[in-house]
C-alpha cells in the first residue's frame, strides 16, 4: 500500500516542480520581453530608419550642442528636439526626469538607447556599444 502512495506523492511532487519550472520561465519571459518604454510615435519618427529624440528644457545649456553633434555625426538619421515642458504627456510616457534625455529609436519606434545627461551622451558617442 505504501509503495503505491509513495508513487502518488512522487508524481504529485514532479507535477509541482514542473509547474514551478514553467512558472519561472514564464515570469522570466514576461519580465525580459515586456516593453519597458512605449514606441516612439510615427509622427515623431516620420518614417526614418533611425530617430534621435532629444528631450530638452528651455534652460538646458547642453541640449543645443548635442543636437548639433547628432546632426553632424548621423546625417542619415532623423533628429527631433522636444521641449519637455511643452509636451508633458510625452515626457511622462518616456519617463523623462531631466534634460537632456536622448532616445534612439529604430525604424519601428523601439527605443534602442536611452541616454540621460550630457555625460552619458558623451560616453555613448565615444563608445556606442
Amino acid at each position: 500500500m505504501i509503495p503505491l502512495r509513495l508513487l502518488v506523492v512522487v508524481v504529485l511532487a514532479f507535477g509541482v516542480l514542473l509547474v514551478a519550472r514553467l512558472f519561472r520561465q514564464w515570469r522570466h519571459t514576461v519580465r525580459t520581453e515586456a516593453p519597458a518604454t512605449p514606441l516612439i510615435p510615427l509622427s515623431i519618427r516620420a518614417g526614418a530608419e533611425r530617430t534621435w529624440v532629444i528631450f530638452t528644457t528651455p534652460l538646458c545649456a547642453s541640449c543645443g550642442p548635442i543636437e548639433a553633434r547628432l546632426r553632424a555625426r548621423d546625417p542619415g538619421a532623423n533628429v527631433v528636439r522636444i521641449d519637455a515642458t511643452e509636451q508633458p504627456q510625452l515626457s511622462h510616457a518616456f519617463k523623462v526626469r531631466s534634460a537632456p534625455t536622448v532616445l534612439l529609436a529604430d525604424g519601428d519606434g523601439r527605443v534602442q538607447a536611452r541616454l540621460v545627461g550630457a555625460e552619458a551622451f558623451d560616453r555613448y558617442v565615444r563608445n556606442p556599444a
Partner: protein
C-alpha cells in the same frame, strides 16, 4: 475611507504551507487520517482569527523569523487568509468524506490542499491568493503592502 490591513511578512504563510504539505503528505503515506481534521483546525484558527492564532504562523513569527533577515517585501494578509479558508473548506470536506467511509475521496481532497500548499511554499504561486486578488481587482479593493 478604506482601511487596508497591516502588511505581513510573506514568509510566514509560506512556512505554514510547507508544514501543511509535509503533514498532509506524511499522513497520506502512512494512512493516518486524523492529520486532516487537525490541519483543518490549524488553518481555521489562522484564517478566522489572524496569524497570532495560527500555531505554525505563530511558530514562524516567534522562533523562525527572529533568526532571518528582514523580509525584502511585505504582502497584504487578506489573500493568504482567504487561501487558508479555501484550504479549510477542502480539509473539512475531506474529514466528512473520511467519516462517511469514502477514504479515497477524502485523501484526494486532502492532496489537492497538499499540492496547492506545496506549490505555494516552493514557488510562491498561491492559487487561493490569486482568486482573492482577482476578485479584489474586479471590486476595486485597495491592497496593502
Amino acid at each position: 475611507m478604506v482601511v487596508t490591513p497591516k502588511p505581513i511578512d510573506p514568509r510566514g504563510p509560506r512556512f505554514n504551507q510547507a508544514v501543511l504539505t509535509v503533514g498532509l503528505v506524511g499522513g497520506f503515506l502512512f494512512d493516518w487520517k486524523p492529520v486532516v481534521p487537525v490541519f483543518a483546525v490549524v488553518l481555521l484558527l489562522g484564517a478566522a482569527f489572524g496569524p497570532r492564532y495560527g500555531p505554525f504562523l505563530r511558530l514562524y513569527a516567534e522562533v523562525v523569523k527572529p533568526r532571518l533577515a528582514p523580509p525584502k517585501e511585505l504582502e497584504d494578509p487578506r489573500p493568504p487568509r482567504f487561501a487558508a479558508a479555501v484550504g479549510v473548506a477542502f480539509l473539512g470536506a475531506a474529514t466528512i468524506a473520511f467519516a462517511a467511509g469514502a477514504s479515497t475521496l477524502g485523501w484526494a481532497l486532502a492532496l489537492v490542499v497538499a499540492v496547492l500548499a506545496g506549490l505555494s511554499a516552493v514557488t510562491g504561486i498561491c492559487v487561493g491568493c490569486e482568486m482573492w486578488l482577482f476578485a479584489a481587482r474586479r471590486r476595486g479593493i485597495p491592497l496593502a503592502g
